[in-house]
């Protein structure tokens, strides 16, 4: 035991004395959360739109006002002719144009029917769809208000409830995703690098010619990074709850349990990489390209897995991050208990045990 503690102490010395790396390790999650939270957002907020309103009557002005007042839109300019619309899109000034007919109010009151044209920049199809949806919603809202006092013969009211995330905030999906990314990066890459560094420096050679069991070397490497990951998870959670207003609905203990499980899986993966490589660069490349990208792409955090072709869906099952992402999302955002995530936990545990056993088996007790 004394041996083990002195080993762990040594690992902490390595980490704490390399100030620059430590700063990156602890700063990275904070920066990632802030970037994802404020800059890289796929939410539609204050999108610039233009209005072409030749009728300029009470109704059209009132509807325009409502559009402008909504937090989704920001009226950039009033256009004067149909030609200007094309120009405004080409210049990239606007994402959406709202076009009123000549006699909007008259049509509405006399014929009980008026048209509004929505023209969207579909070079980004997702944004275009979202914008037209929002605009339609605002227009429907306006219509409901003016027909409130009249009785329509048949009406179907659709009442929509967005469960778990009523404001459709992007933060709800990326916080669990960033947690998966950060854990993957810290645990897998850093453990792989620190073990390979010992090989490069020749200290592994000395260590092997000593009574220490390989299992102890491996475990001692894992402990400090496990703790470091917990610090990172804590800082991510604090930031998301207090800065991004993402709730932590489920049990913190369950989330911590899931995180430790995933961390151990990542550590095992890192050790496996370290036994297959002999230089720090290779270890870094394998961790980054072989693990970081799949984590981004196939965990369901950036792109929905259901939309992928079948082969990719199958491959995604092999990505540990996918299962952790599900656990974290279910516990944090939906507030679900263990009953809802036991399957994911089981799969992740299986992966962890398999990788850990494999990495210890593959640990080289000799050189070459």
């Amino acid at each position: 035991m004394k041996q083990f503690i002195s080993f762990v102490k040594k690992e902490f010395h390595h980490i704490l004395r390399d100030k620059r790396t430590l700063f990156i390790l602890l700063g990275m999650p904070v920066v990632q959360i802030l970037i994802f939270g404020f800059a890289l957002t796929n939410e539609v907020k204050n999108s610039k739109i233009a209005v072409l309103d030749p009728s300029r009557d009470l109704s059209s002005i009132s509807l325009t006002g409502q559009l402008d007042a909504s937090r989704y839109f920001d009226i950039q300019e009033e256009l004067h002719s149909y030609k200007d619309i094309g120009q405004a899109f080409r210049e990239g000034k606007i994402k959406l144009a709202v076009v009123f007919p000549q006699n909007f109010e008259r049509d509405l009151l006399h014929f009980n029917k008026a048209q509004v044209q929505l023209i969207a920049d579909a070079s980004d199809p997702n944004v275009a769809t979202t914008l037209t949806n929002y605009a339609t919603a605002v227009i429907m809202d306006f219509q409901n208000r003016i027909t409130r006092n009249r009785k329509l013969p048949y009406t179907i009211d659709t009442e929509i409830r967005m469960l778990y995330n009523p404001q459709l905030k992007g933060a709800y999906t990326f916080v669990p995703g960033v947690m998966a990314l950060v854990l993957m990066l810290v645990c897998t890459m850093m453990t792989a690098i620190t073990v390979v560094r010992e090989k490069e420096n020749g200290t592994m050679e000395v260590m092997l010619v000593s009574p220490v069991k390989p299992l102890k070397i491996v475990m001692a490497k894992a402990v400090p990074y496990l703790l470091l990951s917990m610090v990172n998870i804590a800082s991510i959670l604090l930031l998301s709850v207090f800065v991004l207003d993402v709730p932590l609905r489920g049990s913190l203990a369950l989330l911590a349990f899931g995180s430790i499980l995933f961390t151990l899986t990542c550590l095992a993966l890192g050790l496996l990489i370290s036994s297959a490589t002999s230089s720090q660069q290779t270890a870094m490349f394998i961790s980054l390209i072989g693990l970081f990208l799949p984590t981004m792409m196939l965990s369901g955090f950036m792109f929905p897995i259901e939309n992928m072709p079948l082969p990719l869906q199958v491959v995604s099952n092999l990505v540990p991050a996918k299962w952790y992402y599900r656990i974290a999302g279910a516990v944090m955002i939906k507030g679900l208990g263990f009953g809802a995530i036991w399957k994911e936990v089981l799969i992740l545990s299986g992966m962890m045990v398999f990788l850990l056993v494999l990495s210890i088996k593959k640990f080289k007790i000799r050189l070459a």
Binding site: S6, N201, T203, V206, L208, S210, R366
Partner: protein, 305 residues
């Protein structure tokens, strides 16, 4: 039984077809308490041999024992008993001198105090720097620290792979004095070095070249086996002198050795003949004298055969 016994060890690297053979059937035997030197140039196979004996590599053929334990089968037991100092400085550069020593003491299940008398003579020299990071030590200091770490558990056999490479002359001398001191404690020491002049400090040496052992003997024995006349020669134009001498009938070998060139000749050649020959070729400041051979001369001679 000897402390180290090596029999017909063959070590190859790489895939079967383009395999490089580093050791071609090496055999040697080191007695308990002996200070045994493996002398040879870079690439001779010294490190391969050390790694096999320290259980880090498996030989393709042959067998070896350390303390009567097989290096392949009983690797765990051997790792408990030996001390190993690899050729490259292999301590933690970001830990201090004291931290390194403490760490290695604990992984060998011992403490600095327990065997302090063993490392005392060496440790007092680096103690003033005990709170300095190992990476910031000078080359000689690093080697002393590495030796302390390899000795901390009082190993019965000590493997030192090129401990003096890259170390200044004064530190080298000190280092060898330390090794002589350890020998007095009946620790078996196997040390490798590319410096021929260090051979005379060993009890016995093995001269190794291209993965083959050329000779194993005491330093005196090896020097004694050199039977040909040997001269040291110097003129104002050394390069030209060497070229001329190599063309002289009766001269077998001529190579630079310090400030002089060493000239190996057939028994019939005398000092005066060499001087006369050089004068004929227009050399001035001629200085030729017979000298006693050293290990390097023996090495050069053995290499030729």
């Amino acid at each position: 039984m000897p402390a180290i016994h090596v029999e017909n060890i063959v070590k190859r690297y790489g895939k079967k077809k383009e395999a490089v053979t580093a050791l071609h059937g090496i055999s040697l035997s080191v007695e308990r308490g002996e200070l045994f030197g493996i002398i040879g140039p870079d690439g001779a196979g010294k490190t391969s041999l050390f790694r096999i004996l320290t259980t880090l590599l498996i030989p393709e053929e042959g067998s070896a024992t350390v303390n009567d334990l097989d290096v392949v089968k009983d690797y765990k037991a051997i790792r408990q008993q030996v001390g190993y100092m690899p050729g490259k400085f292999s301590l933690y550069q970001d830990l201090t001198v004291a931290e390194n020593l403490e760490f290695f003491a604990t992984i060998f299940n011992t403490s600095i105090e327990e065997h302090y008398d063993l490392i005392k003579d060496i440790y007092v020299q680096i103690e003033p720097f005990r709170d300095r990071r190992a990476g910031k030590l000078s080359g000689g200091m690093k080697q002393k620290l590495a030796l302390c770490c390899a000795l901390i558990h009082e190993p019965s056999v000590l493997f030192l792979d090129e401990p003096t490479t890259g170390v200044d002359a004064v530190s080298r001398k000190e280092f060898w004095e330390m090794l002589r001191g350890l020998r007095a404690r009946s620790i078996t020491i196997l040390v490798s070095t590319p410096y021929m002049d260090e051979a005379s400090l060993c009890d016995r040496v093995a001269l190794i070249q291209n993965g083959k052992i050329m000779s194993i003997d005491t330093p005196q024995g090896i020097i004694g086996s050199f039977q040909k006349p040997l001269y040291a020669a110097r003129t104002s134009r050394m390069l030209e002198m060497q070229r001329n001498l190599l063309q002289m009938p009766g001269v077998e070998e001529c190579y630079l050795c310090g400030e002089y060139s060493h000239v190996v000749t057939q028994p019939a050649i005398r000092t005066e003949q060499l001087i006369h020959y050089l004068q004929q070729h227009g050399h001035d400041q001629i200085d030729v004298k017979p000298v006693e051979p050293n290990i390097e001369d023996c090495f050069m001679d053995l290499m030729k055969n």
